[in-house]
């Protein structure tokens, strides 16, 4: 799958966790918007899950946002996890593997697992 999905950012509260879902493709052109949604969620929830299971593409600009989100969550004592699933796009897996950040980011294999991890 490359470009069939509709791009978007959704935020949903599940229990005490805000779930930010990135749909479709995200890169430098949407990184600031992604960052704003994440920061807003971090300001109100006790946990943050970022769902990349419907994400077909991210680049290093978005990766930087994800790293900053994990750092900010840690500073605030909030739970944090990223869902990278089999349904995530090849480019998502590839970027995380090539940069070695798959070992540094708190990643879970599904949206449900990420929510559970973020809720502490």
């Amino acid at each position: 799958m490359t470009n069939g999905a509709t791009n978007g950012i959704d935020v949903e509260r599940v229990g005490d966790v805000d779930v930010v879902t990135l749909r479709g493709e995200h890169d430098l052109s949407t990184a600031d918007d992604v960052s704003r949604h994440i920061e807003s969620a971090l300001g109100t929830a006790t946990g943050l899950a970022i769902d990349l299971s419907e994400t077909t593409f991210i680049d290093s600009a978005v990766l930087r946002v994800l790293i900053t989100a994990q750092e900010n969550a840690a500073k605030r004592g909030a739970g944090f996890a990223i869902a990278v699933a089999e349904t995530s796009g090849h480019g998502v897996h590839r970027l995380l593997t090539l940069t070695g950040l798959d070992a540094k980011l708190s990643m879970r294999p599904s949206r449900e697992d990420a929510i559970a991890a973020a809720s502490g």
């Binding site: 490359t2 890169d27 430098l28 052109s29 593409f57 090849h90 590839r94 090539l98």
Partner: protein
Amino acid sequence: MEMVAERVEIEIAAAAPGVPLVRHALRGLLSGLDVDEDVIADIALAVTEACTNAVVHAYAGHDHEGTIHVIATHVDGSLAVTVRDHGNGMSARVDTPGLGVGLPVIAAIAQSIEIGAPDTGDGTEVRMRFALAGGAE
């Protein structure tokens, strides 16, 4: 008979909205060829990183918006992609912020990468070549 190479050429403003335009144009070219989806995704990632580098760094400090010129040419089972700007050149990039993963990602995906000044003047040109059959691992 001389071989005709499929070619896509696109010029964008050096701003974030142009980055996905280049990616979609490349996919358009590759979708017409017999190329594996994962290989297309890899090339899309590498070229996106090259364009992002140019958007973020090339015209930093300039008082006008520059352009980025991308040429992708399909020849003999490989794709040659050139991303060219007419901005600051390489030396001005060392103190700019970023993850610093763009070039390593490109190097890991591409068969080859060359970085230098364009023949036509100032700026930076990133020349990449990608294998279209079976990836470049």
